[in-house]
């Protein structure tokens, strides 16, 4: 069913030409946030550009993206993220909700968080704009419970090593140089990029998550978009 929001939730099968990547991690409860942030930030590092500044004659210049190192407290791991507090806040909010949902009732500690990049395609009235995903990342999370401090210490290291592998996987995918939306004209830029942040410009994205309850059925909790997006009819 077509919702009045701009884009239907993408928990359904991805559209054609949308590549999908799945990553899986097993972490301890308190590692969930950092692990998710590490993966999401690494993806967004590759999927963000500097701000575009359009000039005459259809040319544009691109701003500069800064980066910074982030150390994890509960995992022996460090990652690089884009220097943008707005973006970091948005991701933390999403991951925080995911973590809370994972801890909630009915959860066996299993769930997944999805990061989807999409393009908007304008439709004529009365139809709402279409959102066409072109890349979908799914991170499956399994929360484990540990008995003692020694196990936790081992977990710190093991999860750190696992995340290193995930980063390498992500970079591999990025390096394939597969489909990326065409660079837009000024009038089209909001259909391709999120221009609401003041210092960087990620491709349009949305984050959603699902929690698997103990019966193994999927309890869909689709999160609202984190960025302003839609035309409501």
């Amino acid at each position: 069913p077509l919702s009045t929001r701009c884009c239907a939730p993408s928990s359904a099968a991805p559209a054609m030409n949308c590549r999908a990547e799945v990553l899986e991690v097993s972490v301890e409860g308190r590692q969930v946030e950092e692990a998710m942030l590490a993966v999401l930030h690494t993806i967004l590092l590759h999927r963000s550009t500097g701000k575009f500044h359009y000039k005459k004659e259809g040319t544009y210049s691109i701003g500069t993206v800064g980066t910074q190192d982030v150390d994890c407290d509960f995992i022996d791991f460090a990652y690089v993220r884009v220097s943008s507090e707005e973006l970091d806040r948005a991701l933390r909010k999403a991951v925080g909700e995911f973590k809370d949902a994972l801890r909630g009732s009915g959860s066996d500690g299993m769930g997944q968080i999805s990061l989807e990049f999409y393009q908007k395609k304008k439709s004529r009235w009365p139809f709402s704009d279409e959102c066409i995903p072109w890349e979908l990342w799914t991170i499956k999370v399994n929360v484990v419970n540990l008995a003692n401090e020694q196990e936790r210490q081992i977990c710190r290291e093991k999860v750190g090593e696992k995340l290193c592998e995930k980063i390498i996987n992500i970079v591999e995918v990025m390096n394939r140089h597969e489909y990326l939306p065409k660079m837009p004209t000024q009038s089209e830029v909001d259909n391709v990029f999120d221009t609401s942040l003041k210092d960087v410009q990620p491709y349009l994205y949305k984050i959603s998550y699902q929690i698997t309850d103990s019966l193994g059925t999927s309890v869909t909790t689709t999160m609202r978009r984190l960025i302003k997006d839609t035309l409501a009819l």
Binding site: G66, N148, V171, M174
Partner: protein, 550 residues
């Protein structure tokens, strides 16, 4: 046929992109092994000097070394640019950890648009490099460097040499970018056999005297290609006065077009920066924002550099110089902006911004802070504004900072330099008790303490201070005033500086003297059975204790 379809403008642009990509690659790798967290600011308005639309700082020495290694050439088939990362312990044992390779293969992509697609993909590749440099084992080692070991880098150009990585090394591919003249590939080969070199090991056990770690590699010495420490403290924001630095800095003004790709407008302009005025070297003004006294602590790091690494040696690494001396600018030395020893005057720039920048850039693992000097001319400098980003200030405004290179206290004078050609044994300088070399090194055998055996001890004794210490007062090193930050005179009769001066030359520990050590080893062995018997008697107690820990 290579390049026949490529317009000359495209070819020029492509060469430029590859050149700057290579330079930025080196910067990212070396900065990732400094042992500090890196932070640069995003800027929505392009400054024109950020290649690939990424804020990657340029440490001048690193650029210099990279340009030297490249010698005007570009990576091509069979000619790869390699950055070798290695670890050196306080005993002088050394081990290669990683080789980062920027290579070119013959697979050409004629259709690709240079000033657009290639440029953006190179940018993406740099981002991947930023990510990957944090996930190889050497990253964690480099974050913990300083006391037991240091991380060094070496750039060379030519054939990739992986033999030093030991058996079973692994490779990770960072990425590739196809261009009309070939495909650029960036990868890293890294040693995995780090078992006994884990960071844990370094945290728990003190250096063991006289044991050579078994991972020596017979590293060939390429003709030029010195090793450098990866802990530039000065570097990030300061332009150095290099003999060979160009006046102009090539900037990359990227302008893209959304019309059909053939109309891409890409301009590269040269911006001419004013040559920075020379800085008075004998003014030792203490920067406004109090800096921690740095050189005593940092000088202990100098002990890791073996004697033979004389300055000017083309073959081996350079000593780490944090203590500043005066004059005698040597082209290969690191600039040590310790508080004393000739820090150029602090600029009138918003000091808090600069200070904040420095604090962020130089994680004070041992209380080391450095200031950046900016010239009196404020042209071309941005104001460091505290935007809501807040977290890190931009280095762009410090483009014109200068540092005068100074000879540090512990630099081996060229006279004492030992050329590798004279020594039959590889790694002779790493071998313990190489008396000939060590005798010449003031670091190991300072005049006042002839009984010193270890370089570590040596450095503690040979402080050139103006205080009461009778340490080795090196000619080039003059410390005028030793004023540790945040230490007050009025509370204690003895201030921190005095305290430090008084106690900075402790007598050598007897256990570190080899003879006694050898003796007591035999004694220890003899007494072992006794000790074991005692412990066995108390086994129940120990068990109970262990239980409480579970």
């Amino acid at each position: 046929a290579m390049g026949t379809d490529l317009s000359s403008q495209d070819r020029k642009d492509l060469d430029k992109f590859i050149k700057f990509f290579a330079l930025k690659t080196v910067q990212v790798i070396v900065q990732a092994r400094l042992g500090e967290k890196i932070c640069t600011r995003s800027s929505s308005s392009p400054t024109g000097s950020d290649w690939f639309n990424l804020a990657i700082k340029d440490i001048p020495e690193v650029t210099h070394e990279a340009k030297k290694a490249l010698a005007g050439q570009l990576p091509a088939v069979g000619r790869s640019m390699c950055v070798e990362i290695s670890l050196k312990t306080s005993e002088g044992d050394s081990m290669e950890l990683e080789i980062w390779c920027l290579e070119m293969n013959e697979k050409c992509d004629k259709e690709i648009k240079v000033s657009y697609t290639v440029y953006n993909r190179l940018s993406l590749l740099l981002k991947s490099l930023l990510a990957i440099t944090r996930v190889t084992p050497a990253y964690r080692l480099s974050r913990k460097q300083g006391h037991e070991y240091v991380i060094l880098y070496r750039i060379y150009f030519g054939e990739v040499q992986l033999s030093g990585l030991g058996e079973g090394f692994q490779t990770v591919r960072v990425g590739t970018v196809g261009t009309p003249v070939g495909t650029i590939t960036l990868s890293c080969a890294y040693r995995i056999n780090l078992a006994f070199m884990s960071t844990r090991q370094f945290e728990r056990t003190p250096p063991i005297m006289g044991i050579i770690i078994d991972h020596f590699v017979d590293r060939p010495y390429p003709s030029s290609s010195p090793m450098h420490p990866c802990n530039y403290r000065a570097g990030e924001d300061n332009g150095a006065v290099y003999p060979s630095v160009e006046d102009s800095q090539e900037v990359c003004t990227t302008s893209f077009s959304t019309s059909p790709p053939s109309q891409c407008v890409f301009t590269v302009t040269k911006a001419h920066f004013q040559t920075p005025p020379p800085v008075v070297t004998d003014t030792l003004k203490v920067p406004v924002m109090g800096l921690a006294f740095s050189h005593q602590l940092s000088s202990s790091r100098l002990s890791y550099q073996p004697a033979a690494l004389g300055v000017g040696s083309a073959d081996m690494g350079y000593p780490v110089l944090f203590a500043g001396g005066l004059n005698a600018a040597h082209p290969h030395q690191l600039i040590g902006p310790g508080k004393e020893g000739g820090v150029p005057p602090v600029p009138s720039q918003p000091a808090h911004g600069t200070q904040a920048d420095q604090e962020r850039m130089c994680t004070p693992q041992d209380g080391v802070h450095y200031t950046a000097a900016t010239p009196s001319s404020s042209e071309d400098t941005e104001t460091v504004s505290n935007s809501s980003e807040g977290k890190c200030a931009s280095p762009y405004d410090l483009l014109e900072t200068i540092f005068i290179r100074k000879v540090g206290a512990f630099v081996n004078k060229p006279i004492n330099q030992v050329t590798m050609a004279n020594l039959d044994i590889p790694f002779a300088m790493f071998a313990p008790k190489n008396v000939e070399l060590e005798d010449n090194d003031p670091m190991v055998n300072p005049p006042e303490s002839p009984e010193t055996e270890s370089p570590l001890q040596g450095s503690l004794h040979s402080e050139g201070s103006s205080g009461s210490s009778t340490g080795n007062t090196h000619d080039d090193f003059v410390m005028i005033d030793f004023k540790p930050a945040f230490s007050k005179d009025d509370i204690l009769p003895m201030d921190l500086g005095t305290f430090y001066r008084e106690f900075q030359n402790p007598p050598q520990l007897s256990s570190l003297s080899i003879d006694i050590g050898a003796q007591s080893m035999a004694e220890d062995l003899d007494s072992l059975p006794e000790k074991l018997a005692v412990h066995e008697k108390n086994v129940k107690e120990f068990d109970a204790f262990v239980e409480t820990l579970q």
